[in-house]
C-alpha cells in the first residue's frame, strides 16, 4: 500500500484560482504525484482551499464509465442503482462543499460534468447560450482531468454550484477504482470518449420526458403545464444538436417510450423500455432471452404466472443501431408482484449476477426509487451488473498481463 503525505495547500493559494504543487515532497512511498491544473476561471469567493493528497489504490488504473442523459432523465437514480450494485452507499465527500455534485463510495466515484462549465449562469445568460451548448463547457479541462484520474493521479476539480449558478472553489478528487462521469456531454468530445471503458446513454422519448417533468415540477410553485412545456421546447434545438447525437457512441442505450400495451396511452405511467447493447465490445456480453441471436417475443403471463392489467411483454432480437450490430431486449408493462420479477429474472441469460435472484434483490432493496416496477429499474440494475462484470474482467486481464511478461 502506498503511504502518502497530507498537505494543506492553504498557504500556497490564497485565491484558489490556481493550485500550486506543494513544495514539500511526499514523505512516504507515494509513487504518484498530485496533478495540477491551472483553470482560467476565477471564483467570486476568495476563500482558501484545503486539500488532502493521496495515492491511487495500489497503483492500479482507474476504470472510467460514461453516462449521458438530459437533465431530469434519471441519471441520479441510475447512479444510485449502479453504486449499490458495487456495494456500499455513495455519499457526497465528507466535510466538503455541501453543494458538491460528487458522490463517493468505497469503489466508485461519480463526478458530474456540469462541474466543467466554462460559463457560469450569468455568463450563459449574457451570451445567450444554454448549458447544453459546447461553448458553455471546458472540454480541454474535462479531458485533462479524466485522463489524469485514469492514470491514477488526483485532481483539483472545479465545482459548479447548481444553487448559486457559480463556480465554487475546487475539490480534490482521488482516483477511484471506478470513475463514473455523468452529465450532458461525456461522449461529445472525442478525446474524452476515447478514455471511456464503457458508456451508457439514457434516451427518454419526448412524451415520457414531458410526463416525468410534470411529475417532478408541478408541485413547485410558479410552474404550470405551460412553463414545463416551454422549457422543454426552448432547450430542444440544443438538445437535438449536442446531446442526442452522443447515443451513437454508447455501448448501451436505455430507451424509454410510452407503452404499446394500452392503445393511445400517453400518461407515462406504463412504460416500454428497450435495452440496446452493442455487439463486439470487449468484456461486455449482451443479455439475451432464451436463445442468443434469435428473435423472440415472450409474454410471461399465462398459466404459470398471473399478471394484472396491462400485463408484461418482452421482445428480444438482433438489430442495427447507427450502423452498429446490436442486441435489443425490450420490456413493456410493469411488475406488480415479486414473483413476476423473479420469474422474469430466471428466464434471462448473461445477466452477470453472482447468485440466483440478485437482480430481484437489488430491485427490492431500492423499491422506493422511481422505475423499480418497470423496465427502467430492471435494465438499469442489469447494466450495473454488466459494468461490475466488465470491471472485474478488466482488472483480471491487467493482473494477468504483467504476470505473463515475467514468465
Amino acid at each position: 500500500m502506498a503511504i502518502c503525505a497530507v498537505h494543506t495547500s492553504t498557504q500556497f493559494n490564497p485565491t484558489c484560482s490556481s493550485i500550486s504543487t506543494p513544495s514539500k515532497s511526499h514523505l512516504g512511498f507515494c509513487q504518484r504525484q498530485q496533478v495540477v491544473f491551472y483553470t482560467k476561471r476565477s471564483s467570486k469567493r476568495s476563500t482558501p482551499c484545503v486539500g488532502l493528497i493521496a495515492c491511487a489504490a495500489g497503483g492500479q488504473e482507474t476504470v472510467v464509465i460514461g453516462l449521458a442523459a438530459d437533465s431530469g432523465c434519471g441519471k441520479s437514480t441510475f447512479m444510485r442503482r449502479l453504486t449499490s450494485v458495487f456495494g456500499g452507499a455513495a455519499e457526497p465527500p465528507k466535510g466538503g462543499n455541501p453543494d458538491s455534485n460528487t458522490l463517493i463510495s468505497d469503489t466508485t466515484t461519480v463526478i458530474c460534468l456540469d462541474d466543467y462549465h466554462s460559463l457560469d449562469r450569468t455568463g450563459r445568460k449574457e451570451k445567450g447560450v444554454t448549458a447544453l451548448d459546447p461553448r458553455a463547457n471546458d472540454f480541454d479541462l474535462m479531458y485533462e482531468q479524466v485522463k489524469a484520474m485514469k492514470d491514477g493521479k488526483a485532481v483539483d476539480k472545479p465545482i459548479y454550484n447548481h444553487v448559486s449558478g457559480l463556480l465554487d472553489p475546487p475539490e480534490l478528487i482521488k482516483p477511484p477504482k471506478i470513475l463514473v462521469i455523468e452529465g450532458l456531454h461525456p461522449m461529445y468530445d472525442q478525446r474524452v470518449r476515447d478514455l471511456l471503458d464503457f458508456s451508457i446513454y439514457l434516451d427518454i422519448s419526448n412524451e415520457v420526458k414531458f410526463a416525468w417533468k410534470i411529475q417532478r415540477d408541478m408541485a413547485e410553485r410558479g410552474h404550470s403545464l405551460e412553463s414545463i412545456k416551454a422549457s422543454i421546447e426552448a432547450r430542444k434545438p440544443d438538445f437535438d444538436a449536442y446531446i442526442d447525437p452522443q447515443k451513437q457512441y454508447a455501448d448501451a442505450v436505455i430507451e424509454v417510450l410510452p407503452t404499446e400495451l394500452i392503445p393511445g396511452d400517453n400518461e407515462g405511467k406504463v412504460l416500454r423500455v428497450r435495452l440496446i447493447m452493442k455487439e463486439g465490445v470487449k468484456f461486455f456480453n449482451p443479455v439475451y432471452l432464451f436463445d442468443e441471436g434469435s428473435t423472440i417475443s415472450w409474454i410471461p403471463c399465462g398459466r404459470k404466472l398471473t399478471c394484472s392489467y396491462p400485463g408484461i411483454k418482452f421482445t428480444y432480437g438482433p438489430d442495427t443501431y447507427y450502423g452498429h450490430e446490436v442486441s435489443v431486449l425490450e420490456m413493456d408493462g410493469q411488475f406488480d408482484r415479486l414473483d413476476e420479477l423473479i420469474y422474469v429474472e430466471s428466464h434471462l441469460s448473461n445477466i452477470s449476477t453472482k447468485f440466483y435472484g440478485e437482480v430481484t434483490q437489488q430491485m427490492l432493496k431500492h423499491s422506493d426509487f422511481p422505475g423499480s416496477n418497470n423496465g427502467t429499474g430492471l435494465f438499469q440494475t442489469i447494466v450495473g451488473l454488466k459494468i461490475r462484470d466488465l470491471y472485474e474482467q478488466l482488472i483480471a486481464s491487467k493482473a494477468k498481463r504483467p504476470a505473463e511478461a515475467k514468465a
Binding site: R45, T47, P48, V50, S71, G72, S76, E91, K94, G95, N97, P98, D99, R121, R124, K125, K127, G128, V129, T130, A131, L132, H162, V163, S164, G165, D168, K213, R216, D217, E220, R221, G222, H223, S227, A230, S231, A234, R235, P237, D238, L338, L364, K365, S367
Partner: protein, 160 residues
C-alpha cells in the same frame, strides 16, 4: 455485551416482516431504538435538523452533533469558509423567479438566445430543487451522524 432485545420489542414490526423493506431495515430499526433510549431525545422531527444545518450555533441535542455545523465548530476558519447548503425554500423561490424572468425574456423575442438560456436556467433550478427535496427526504439525522461517527455507542449495530 448489549442487553438482548426482548421479543416484545418486535411486536410492532410483525407486519413489517411482510414488507420487502424488512430485511434491509431490520438493523436500522434496532439501532434507532437503542439510540433513542441512549440519547433521550426524539429524532422524528426533520425540522430540528433543518434548523441545525442553517445556524451553526443551535443548541445540540444531548450527545449528538449534526452535519456540517456543530461537528466542525472546532476549526474556526474551516467552518467559516464552508458554504452552507441552501434550504429548499430558497430554491423554490429561485425557480419561481426564473420562470417569471424566462416568460419576460421570451415575450420580446421567443427565438432569441436570451429566451432559450432563461428557460435552460429554469430547468437547471427545477432539477436542483428536485434533487434537494430527494436528499432531504432521505436525510435521517441519526444516519447522518452515524455515517460521520460510526464508532459511537448510538451507532453500534449488533448481529444475533
Amino acid at each position: 455485551m448489549p442487553a438482548p432485545i426482548k421479543p416484545s420489542c418486535w411486536a410492532p414490526y410483525h407486519n413489517a416482516i411482510l414488507s420487502p423493506h424488512f430485511f434491509q431495515s431490520r438493523k436500522l430499526v434496532r439501532r434507532k431504538e437503542m439510540a433513542t433510549s441512549v440519547a433521550g431525545v426524539s429524532l422524528s422531527t426533520p425540522r430540528v435538523f433543518a434548523r441545525a444545518a442553517e445556524t451553526p450555533k443551535v443548541i445540540k441535542p444531548a450527545g449528538l452533533s449534526f452535519g456540517y455545523s456543530a461537528g466542525r465548530v472546532g476549526s474556526g476558519r474551516m467552518s467559516m469558509i464552508r458554504p452552507v447548503a441552501a434550504a429548499p425554500d430558497k430554491l423554490s423561490e429561485k425557480v419561481q423567479e426564473s420562470i417569471k424572468e424566462a416568460e419576460q425574456a421570451c415575450s420580446e423575442d421567443p427565438a432569441s438566445g436570451e429566451c432559450v438560456a432563461a428557460w435552460d436556467e429554469v430547468e437547471e433550478l427545477s432539477a436542483a430543487a428536485s434533487h434537494k427535496r430527494d436528499s432531504e427526504k432521505n436525510k435521517d439525522p441519526l444516519e447522518t451522524y452515524c455515517s460521520d461517527n460510526p464508532e459511537t455507542d448510538e451507532c453500534r449495530t449488533y448481529d444475533n
